[in-house]
């Protein structure tokens, strides 16, 4: 379990990190190269050692030939006793000449010749005579000069390659003898082993160093890419001033330059669009402000006329009533325009204070009651006993609720409208549910858009400005709250406002359901 998890983590790391992958590949490839190199070296060193040893053995064997010849000089005339005596010396003499310490000697009476005097065949102690096969003896006796053969001997409990060299001698008295010298390669074998061990260790260390260097190099190479990635992230998160440092003239510098180029043009475009949008917002704001002075004059005049309309001709009177009514509508529209442009300019300064939501809802209900009565709509309030404390800008909450209730009554088709209040430990909520015409999916998406109307063909009765829900949504968001809606065509709509109890809390759930069926 743990193992597989670690493997998985390592695999993930491997897949996700370009650098780790580069290092792993470099080490694997260099490792392969080192193994091939080590193998070739080991074989060629082994061969070298072996052939040198063989050459040396041949030279020594030639020297041995003279040694043996010298030993037997002058023993020709004497009897077989003397011969026997010299024979005894041969092995000792041959074991001690030359530089090779590891030499074994066998001086054998030729097997093809009768041995009537029963002359001895002296050998070194511990020599394995089975090495000298009848085949080889036949080869030696039938040829002139040295015969060489590679054999395996046991040395120090290990099998070691050795060179077996044979040559024939004719001793005084016509005795045919064969001299066999065994040069084992124990020392060479040890040297080779040592070299191989060194090669492995050296290869391993080299591999580590290659790994480390490739890590450094890839890090150096990957760094500009990583920096570009980080900078893109920063750029995407909105910090348009972020740029890369350009160093040198290599491909990394090209990357940095291009990246900066891209960031520049991006910033230019975004700034231009920002400015355009700000200009438009400013324009709306300026226009609205400029309209206020003439509007005030017109309103004062219309009010005065309205208050003094009695006694005027009927047409004048009706005109004055219309003028007066439309001035009020103009006033509302302008107020909403100003409010939304204030939100656009982020110039809104809410006043958060602790209020009882029940109280605010009560005020709104009382204010809307006359309108509900005029539409024959029954307002049903489901309000918890006890205070529902929350930190809000009460003026804005009232504005939202007034808006929702007005809409519900307008679109409620005379059926009851239910207003619910509830709280949990983090948030408070009000829902306004009607049983009226409702909305379809497309309308639900657009309902908070500016100047959007549920049904353009429907007769306007309250003369709302078309900005009500857009402002309500901004008001709710100002409280870090949510204004949500659900609806079904023909069944009604439910708007739910959820506000955190403290205006710095962001994770909360609404204590009320969002459903038209709860009506």
């Amino acid at each position: 379990m743990i193992f597989s998890r670690i493997t998985k983590a390592a695999l993930d790391q491997f897949r996700s990190s370009l650098q780790i992958r580069a290092v792993v590949y470099t080490v694997a490839l260099s490792g392969t190269a080192l193994i091939v190199l080590g193998g070739v070296l080991s074989v060629s060193i082994g061969n070298g050692l072996f052939s040198r040893k063989t050459e040396q053995a041949v030279i020594e064997s030639n020297r041995a030939k003279f040694t043996v010849s010298r030993l037997f000089e002058g023993v020709s005339s004497q009897g077989s006793w003397r011969l026997e005596q010299v024979l005894d010396e041969v092995v000792q003499e041959l074991e001690s000449i030359g530089v090779s310490q590891t030499r074994q000697v066998a001086f054998l009476h030729s097997a093809t010749q009768p041995n009537p005097k029963n002359l001895s065949s002296p050998t070194s102690a511990g020599i394995d005579l089975t090495l000298i096969t009848p085949d080889f003896r036949k080869l030696v006796t039938s040829s002139v000069g040295l015969q060489t053969r590679t054999v395996q001997v046991i040395r120090g409990g290990e099998s070691t390659p050795a060179v077996l060299i044979g040559q024939k001698f004719t001793l005084p008295g016509g005795h045919n003898y064969e001299l066999y010298l065994v040069y084992d390669m124990y020392n060479e074998q040890q040297s080779l082993l040592f070299v191989q061990r060194t090669l492995v260790l050296g290869g391993f260390i080299t591999l580590m160093i290659i790994g480390f260097f490739s890590y450094l190099v890839t890090r150096w190479l990957v760094r500009p890419v990583q920096e570009a990635a980080d900078a893109s992230e920063v750029l995407a998160s909105g910090d348009l001033d972020r740029r890369l440092a350009v160093r040198g003239t290599d491909v990394a510098a090209v990357l940095a330059t291009s990246f900066n180029h891209m960031a520049d043009s991006l910033q230019e475009k975004i700034t231009a669009m920002d400015e355009l949008s700000k200009m438009q917002q400013r324009f709306v704001s300026d226009v609205s402000h400029e309209l206020r002075t003439p509007l005030t004059t017109m309103k004062l005049a219309a009010d005065y006329l309205y208050d003094n309309k009695e006694g005027l001709p009927e047409f004048s009177k009706r005109s004055i009533v219309n003028l007066h009514g439309q001035m009020d509508r103009f006033d509302l529209l302008l107020a909403d325009l100003l409010e939304i442009s204030r939100y656009d300019a982020e110039g809104v300064e809410p006043v958060f204070e602790v209020h009882d939501l029940n109280g605010i809802v009560g005020v709104c209900l009382a204010a809307i009651q006359p309108f509900a009565d005029s539409k024959n709509v029954y307002l049903e309030a489901d309000i918890p006993s006890g205070a529902v404390q929350c930190e809000v800008d009460s003026r804005r909450i009232e504005r939202i609720l007034n808006n929702l209730m007005t809409n519900a009554i307008e679109h409620g088709e005379g059926k009851p409208v239910v207003i619910r209040v509830a709280q949990n430990d983090k948030a408070v909520a009000v829902s306004v549910t009607d049983n009226g015409i409702g909305m379809n999916q497309q309308e639900l998406v657009q309902v908070f858009d500016r100047f959007w109307r549920a049904d353009p063909s429907r007769k306007r009765t309250t003369g709302g400005t078309g900005l009500g829900l857009a402002i309500s949504l901004e008001d709710a968001q100002l409280h870090l709250g949510q204004l949500e809606v659900t609806a079904e065509p023909g069944k009604g709509a439910c708007f739910r406002l959820t506000i955190p109890k403290r205006h710095d809390v962001t994770n909360f759930e609404s204590p009320l359901p969002l459903s038209v069926h709860s009506a």
């Binding site: 509007l295 309103k299 009010d303 110039g347």
Partner: protein, 224 residues
């Protein structure tokens, strides 16, 4: 009959205002530029000033500051911009209240009347708060031997708080009792005027001892 000075540069609006106010029973005089405002005030000695903030010559805030140097005459700002910084600066300069355009004449008249209404009779003619002594008959305020000049609004604000020492007044309550707003109004009116009041009566404005803030609730008059 109360005389009202209208400082407004838009001729049509000024005339319509004059019609509305005269119809409501006020006597009116006017100034149409910023520079004319103070001389018109000194000449006509109005009971109240309606002051537009955006004026040619001298802006409303400067005029306000100048008049407040030696007069507590009620000043109501008429603002086209709900640009809050201008409005707050006007209040800080000494304006008592503000009305944003477009306004109804009834609203404006009720604001004017609230500012002109005499103080209610109080049980004790002398009210003390800390080292401050308020004479409710002569409207004189003394701190020890020193006379302090409060505007009628500041006097009413301090009197309201000091009549019920240690009782907490929410900003809404103060708006209702001092400014006579019957419906929701801008609670910053209270904040700004409490600051102005403190600057006149407290020893250390940063560490008030007389008019105390009750966080999340409002204000109260300090311990006797």
């Amino acid at each position: 009959m109360f005389k009202i000075l209208i400082v407004e540069d838009d001729d049509a609006l000024r005339e319509q205002l004059e019609i509305g106010l005269m119809a409501s029973g006020f006597e009116v005089c006017h100034a149409s530029t910023g520079t004319e405002a103070v001389p018109a005030f000194e000449k006509n000695k109005p009971d109240l000033i309606l002051l537009d903030l955006m004026l040619p010559g001298k802006n409303g805030i400067e005029i306000c500051t100048e008049i407040r140097k030696n007069s507590g005459v009620p000043i109501i700002m008429l603002t086209a911009r709900t640009d809050d910084t201008d409005m707050i600066r006007g209040l800080e300069a000494g304006a008592d209240d503000y009305v944003t355009k477009p306004y109804k004449i009834e609203v404006l008249v009720s604001r004017i009347k609230a500012r002109l209404r005499p103080l209610k009779e109080v049980l004790h003619p002398i009210i003390k708060i800390g080292s401050i002594e308020m004479d409710t008959l002569s409207h004189e305020v003394r701190k020890g031997d020193k006379k302090i000049a409060l505007t009628p609004l500041e006097f009413k604000l301090l009197l309201t708080l000091a009549s019920h020492p240690n009782e907490v007044f929410s900003r809404e309550m103060l708006l209702e009792q001092v400014w006579e707003y019957t419906y929701k109004a801008d609670t910053r009116l209270v904040n700004v005027h409490v600051q102005r009041l403190r600057s006149k009566i407290e020893d250390d404005q940063e560490d008030p001892k007389l008019v105390l803030t009750v966080r999340g609730w409002g204000y109260k008059a300090g311990p006797e």
